[in-house]
Structure formats: C-alpha cells, structure tokens
C-alpha cells in the first residue's frame, strides 16, 4: 500500500482522502468521498458523464489522477443547487424532459453551467459543439438544447 494523502476543496468544503496513485479523480470522488453524482461511462474521456470543474476548468474526472487535485478546487454536480434551490438549468432540464435515463445528466449540467459562465449568450451551434464531448444515447439532444437555450435566455433577463 503506497497511498497518498490528498487535501482538496470539493463544492466549497475542505476535504481529504487517501488514494492509490493510480486512482483517478473520478474514483476518488465516487469511492473515497461518496460523491456518486459524477458517472463513469467510458473511463477514457469520450463520454463526458464524469465532467467536473477543476480550478474553473471543465475536465473529465476520469482523465485526472486523484493525486493531481492536491490543494485545488473541484466542483461537481452535487454542488450545483444552492441549498434547497435548484439551479435554473436543473429546473429547465426537468421541465423540458431533457433527460430520459439521466445517466449523462450530471455531466451535461456541469458542462453547460461552465459554458454559460463563459458565454451567457451562446448560439445553438455553439451549444451543440460545446456539448460534443458529452454523449447522450436517449434523447437525440433536441430537448437538452432547447432547455439550455431557454435557460440562457432567462438568466440573461434576470441579469
């Protein structure tokens, strides 16, 4: 056992865990910190179901090693809602039925939230290309794109 002690900040909370140097950030979030909202669909960075934000940057948690997040800030799907209040994207995803099975949803929400923070007024094409790293097999993306465009419009209006 050559486990390494890692101290990091997840969704605003200071946490620490012991991990094998081969374990990914996704393994650590799910198995050490019990944050199972981030999903493993491929383990190779192709499906985006494990999308999290590391130091403000959207990454696949399966492509980051657990030991790499020492002293850094990680945001996951569990941190999107503020207390009892859902984020507008979460509300609209439910309203638009932008999910069927829901396995890709955490990753798509993380990716989209990050997009809207960078670009509050994306075109449909920009949204589609931003989400090209997030696979959804159920919906054909139609309702996802509509939910995002509507949320972006609402958030712009709300300022």
């Amino acid at each position: 056992m050559n486990n390494i002690h890692v101290r990091t900040k997840v969704n605003g909370d200071e946490v620490d865990f012991l991990c094998d140097p081969r374990e990914t950030l996704l393994d650590c979030l799910r198995d050490k910190l019990h944050l199972t909202g981030s999903k493993e669909g491929c383990g190779t960075g192709d499906c985006g179901a494990c999308s999290v934000v590391l130091e403000g940057r959207l990454v696949c948690a399966c492509l980051v090693l657990g030991v790499e997040v020492e002293g850094q800030t990680v945001d996951t799907v569990e941190g999107i809602a503020q207390g009892q209040d859902l984020h507008p994207l979460q509300e609209k995803f439910i309203k638009y039925a932008a999910l069927q099975c829901g396995i890709c949803t955490p990753g798509i929400l993380m990716a989209t939230k990050n997009l809207l923070e960078r670009n509050p007024n994306p075109t449909e094409t920009e949204v589609r290309y931003w989400l090209a790293g997030n696979l959804c097999r159920c919906t054909g993306y139609d309702k996802i794109i509509r939910a995002i465009m509507d949320t972006a419009a609402d958030m712009r209006e709300a300022g």
């Binding site: 979460q90 439910i94 959804c136």
Partner: protein
Amino acid sequence: MALDNAKSNGFKFVGTRPDRPDGVDKVTGRAKFGADMTAPGMLHGAILRSPHAHARINKIDTSAAEAMKGVKAVVTRKDFATDVHFESGLNGETWNVLENVMAGEKVLYDGHALAAVAATSALIARDAIKLVRVDYDLLDHVTDVDKAMEKDAPVIREGAADKSVPDGFHPNVVRYHESGHGDVDEGFSKADLVIEDSFKTEATHQGYIEPHACLGSLGNDGKGDLWCTTQGHWYAQKMCAALLNLETSQLRVTASEIGGGFGGKTTVFIEPVALALSRKANKPVKIVMSRSEVFRSTGPTSSTSMDVKIGMKKDGTITAASGVFRLQGGAFPGAPAEFTAMCAFAPYALENVRQIGYDVMANRPKQAAYRAPGSPMAAFAVESVIDDLCKALGLDPIEVRLKNASHKGTKASFGPRFEDIGLIETLEAAKAHDHYSTPLKDGQGRGISCGFWFNHGGETAVSLALSEDGTAQISVGTPDIGGSRASMALMAAEELGIPYEHIRCTIADTATLGYNEISHGSRVTYASGLATIKAAKDVVHKLCKRAAQKWDIPEDAVKWEDGCAVPSGANAGDFDPLPLHKITANMGATGGPIVGHFEATPEGAGVSFATHIVDAEVDHATGKTKIVRYTVVQDAGKAIHPTYVEGQYQGGAAQGIGWALNEEYIYGDDGRLQNAGFLDYRIPLASDLPMIDTVIVEVANPGHPYGVRGVGETSICPPLAAIANAVSAAAGIRMKQLPMSPPRIVAALKSLKDG
C-alpha cells in the same frame, strides 16, 4: 388525427406534461444507478476475458491469482450450476446464458468470460486477473454472416440447430423461419417492373452510457440479495438462481436506476458472477464493467445480409414481395431472424408475399435485443427497393405507400388480420407536413420510410396502496427507463381523481410483487399502465364500498366521481360527496388498509407504425453526410405524457442516424473487435444532429383502456431506410450497405464515376 389538444377526449390528467417524479433526483446526482451502491465489507470483482475469437480451453491455472494478497475468491465455470443442460436452438436458453456468462470447454468470441476474481480493491482485482494462466488451442473462426453459412466455415457448436432448419444447411444455421401467403411467382408475373437487390448491415451496440454494474451478496445458506442495473429484475432473479443452483425466492433482486438499456440490459452477464464470487468469499461483491467490456462482451444487435424482390405496377400497386433475411447473432442461437422476416413487409397489404429468415451463429458476442429487434434492418432493405421502384416508375413515394398501406382488416404479411392501426394516418400526416413540401437545396436528398413493430404485453403485477392522508403509492415491477413513473402516476391520478403530485411511483423489488416481465417490447406504458389503471379501479371499488357502509346503502348505489364517492343516482340517497382523503383518514377502523392489485398477462398490445422524412446532404469530396432536417410521425395510440413520447421518437431517430451513418462493429482478420470504445465506435454527438421534429398521431389501441400503444421501439424502424433513401438521392447512387460511413460513400461515388 394528429395530437393538437392534450386535454381532448375527456381526460383530466392524461395528455398533460407534468414534471417527472424522479426529476430532482436525476439533476442533483442523488439518483442511485448500478455502480452507485456499496455495502460494508464489500469486495470488488474483475473478469478475465478471452483475447481469442475461437479456442479450446485446455487448462485454467488460478493458483497465482489466489495467492495474491487481497484476493478473496476466484471462480471459473466449475463454480456454477452443473445441472443446466445443453439443448438445441432456444430450448437450451438457460445453458446458452450460462455458457455466455462463463465459458466451458471453448471460448467462442473475443471478450468471452472465463474466470473472475474478487479482491479487497478494484485495483487488486484487476492486477490479480492478469495472473490467471490459460492454456488455449486456437481454432479457426468466422465473424461474417454469409461466410458463417458457407460449407467450409468453422463450426461454432455441433447440434445447436433446432428442428426448424431444413436439411443441407451448415451447422451454424440454427433456426429457420418461413411465412407469407399467396403466390409470389404469379404476383411478380403481373408486375410492370420487378427489382431485386441485396443489402448488408453491420452489428451495432445499444450504446447505453451506463456500463453494466451490480452488487451481489450470497451466503452459504442459499439466501442472497442482488442490486443491479437491469431492464428486468425478475428475469435476473430467475436466471441467477438457475445458474447458481439456488431457490428463486431466496434471491431478492432490486433494480437500480438504469442508465439506458434499449434491449441490451434484458439478460445477465456479471450478476451471476458477482453472486458466485460472493458465495465463495462470503462477502458482498461489486462488479462494474469497463466500456471496452461492454462492447466486447455484451449484446450488440445482429449483423445482416438480405435479398429483397418486389414487383410493382405502373400505378404503384405492389403485386408481390419476397425476402431472404440472414441474421448473425453471435456464438449462440437467438438472432431475431423471424422478427426481421415478419416485420419486413408488414406495412403493406399484399396478395402475394413470402419471407424467409435464418438465425446464424458466428464468433461474436451473443446478440441481445436492440429496440425493435430485427425490424430496422428489414425496413432498410425493403424500403430501399420500394424507393427505387418509385424512382423508376416516376411515382411519389408517399402516394405509393398510401396506395399499398396496411389498414384495419388487412391480412398481415406475417399472418393475422390487423385491428385498428394508424399507418395511413401517419402517411397522411407526413404528406401534409411542411417538411414534405419544402424544396431541397442543391446537393440534398430527401428520404421517406415506413416502419413497423409488434409491441408486447407480458406478465405484469402492480399494487397501489392508499395512505391515511389520502395520497397513494404505486409499486410497479418494470424499471423506469425513460420517465415511466410519470406516466404511471398520470394514469393513477386519472382513475383516483387525486392530484398527480399526491402519487409516488416506486420500482418494487422482486420480494414485493409477483413476476414482472422485463421492460422490453415497448410494454411498460401499455402493460404496467393497464395494470396501474386496473389496480386503481380496484382501489376505487374498495373506496366505494367503504362509502356504502358509512351511508348504509348498497355498494352498487355508490359511484366514483372526481376523487369522491357519490350516490349513483337520486334514488340512492342524498349524501354529500365523500372525498378520498376522508375515507382513508379512518380506514383502519372501517375495514383496514385499502390496496388495489393487478396480476395478469395483458394480451392486447397494439402494433404500431411510423413514417419518417429525412433530408440529407452529402459532401462528395469527403463522403461525410449531414442530416439537415428530420421529422418523425408515429402512432402512439394515446400519448399519456406527450413530452416523453416525443422523447422516445427523437431518441429512436437519433439512434437510427448513428446506425445508418457511423456505428459498426469492426473485426480484424484475427477475429478481434477493433473499436471497443466510444472514440472509435462513434454514436451521434450533439454537434452531429439537427432538432428532430415530431408528430404524434393517435389511433386508439382497443386493447388498452385509454388506447395506449408502445412507442419506444417503432421509432427506430424507419430511420435506416429513410436515411439511406435520402443519402442515395443526394449521392446519386443506391447505398446498399450500412453504415454509410464516409469511406463507403467515397467508394460508391468513385464506382459511379468509374462507371
């Protein structure tokens, strides 16, 4: 009759679009999927898989793995039931599943499981599995369906063919289907034009984003618990019990939230292995597949080779049709050759029709159901030929389909007469749709196709219990794979007359309800929906009885209206309406808990049809296809939650786009799968697709109280053909092989240029 008013036909809740009950769980990360469960003392399992397409196993040496620190159990085939016997065809399906779960004397495909390890961490389990030594004798292999039928093809398994197969076929041909009516030769002689052509499709994977995952616990007392991502936990219970020699009732199975299935999670793979490891280690064991394992070892759909011949008169009347459909289903019987054959010509009212299906084995993973198994490929071949006939005779493709369309009373190509069906309505709606009359731009082609699927009923049990505060809880046994909890709650609300929000729908475990067939065959909204309605009616009957007792009038003098018991007429007496919550408030004192039930096998599933319109643009330099517009028109019977019906239509179309343009299993000469990952097996991305327009047609199914037909599967029947017709029009050459990937299109264009 397109859906224009959700609240038409007197429904109060059905046809509205409320938020799904599990919505918050699924947008916050709270929902628990297969891999999200843990147990105290849990071990992690890993499975050794064959790198060879076909080999005899001489010896498996597990001693080094067993000796590794942290390893708690190793299992091979000898740790599974020994009283499950091989039989021909599908008669030996339990043996087939066992042989697929853990190889016996031979490995039959790249990815075939042959040993498993449980250890204290996933990393140790993965390391330990590499220490298992296997001595193989390599055998010749075959992965192509046509080659697997040839005389000198390697034999996958002698004796696997059942009695349906005529003499003279290779042992890899294991089942045979033939059906039809009339005299096709006479029919072809009456045609003005006969076109005969051959088509091929590659195997595609269901491509659910959630890999198979389970957590099993089994003691030496034969009692166990299993948590798994599955479309059918009663099937998992039955099959695991059979494969491990357990009493079925001693194994309780709970279905996790399921991250997509599309037919691929209708069987077991890792579940019996986790239980076998758990029994040996006496600790809970969790197994989660990698994506590569999902591709190499779980069911893709069949690959096909098909010949179709159709005769048509100058006015568009089809005089005869025949087809031969060869389906490769992996190293086991079960390719849905009969479904392919039976669906092929179902949209058309034909006097002369004949279809033949072959179920063929090859050295590939055991095929599993994929959304309307077998039907999309048949439509690709048949609708391509119809398209060519229309072009050659200068006829409009929708008019020709309308002229020949099956309708109520038509003797179906596969035998029975159709009851109320909505094919003509979908064609009329497609013809009237703005999409069909919008001019195409240069370089674009438009394709049309119809599609057909049977839909299914199946064993179903539901219970509905009322709470003291007047709310209701429904227990259903069909995993919610795309929003079905919402549909169940809507139907219960309709019957009970209480708000949708007052109902909680739970997917019950195997200990809670009687046997429920798998969530397959588009059966959930139909069968669990019917069961929910009947269970609610049972509850209403009991509520009326309590009111009758209270009012001291006969039971039949009380009826249920808008959530209240009321006297059925002026003669029944003068009582104020008694709302549900007032009856439940003291139900303990008036006769006890009020629970409604339904346990039966509904057999009134209504078949369904769809018509799709596609516009495609082909880049002649690169061979890349862009879908520029897509419209789905489909008969839902009755749309309970129209938004989720649209979602099924869009999802089926999107999967069809992937199948038609990019997705395929690619095998090397060594028989190994070369693209076992999402980078090389390319499913459609958001940036690949346009919005997908939908039209919900409603022609009520007489076999359901509200008219529901299944909607999940029919949506993938037309896309392969509709896209092939659009791409062929845009490219100027008939595309006869799927996927129509850029290299294939470039090759086709080159052959056209070279003449």
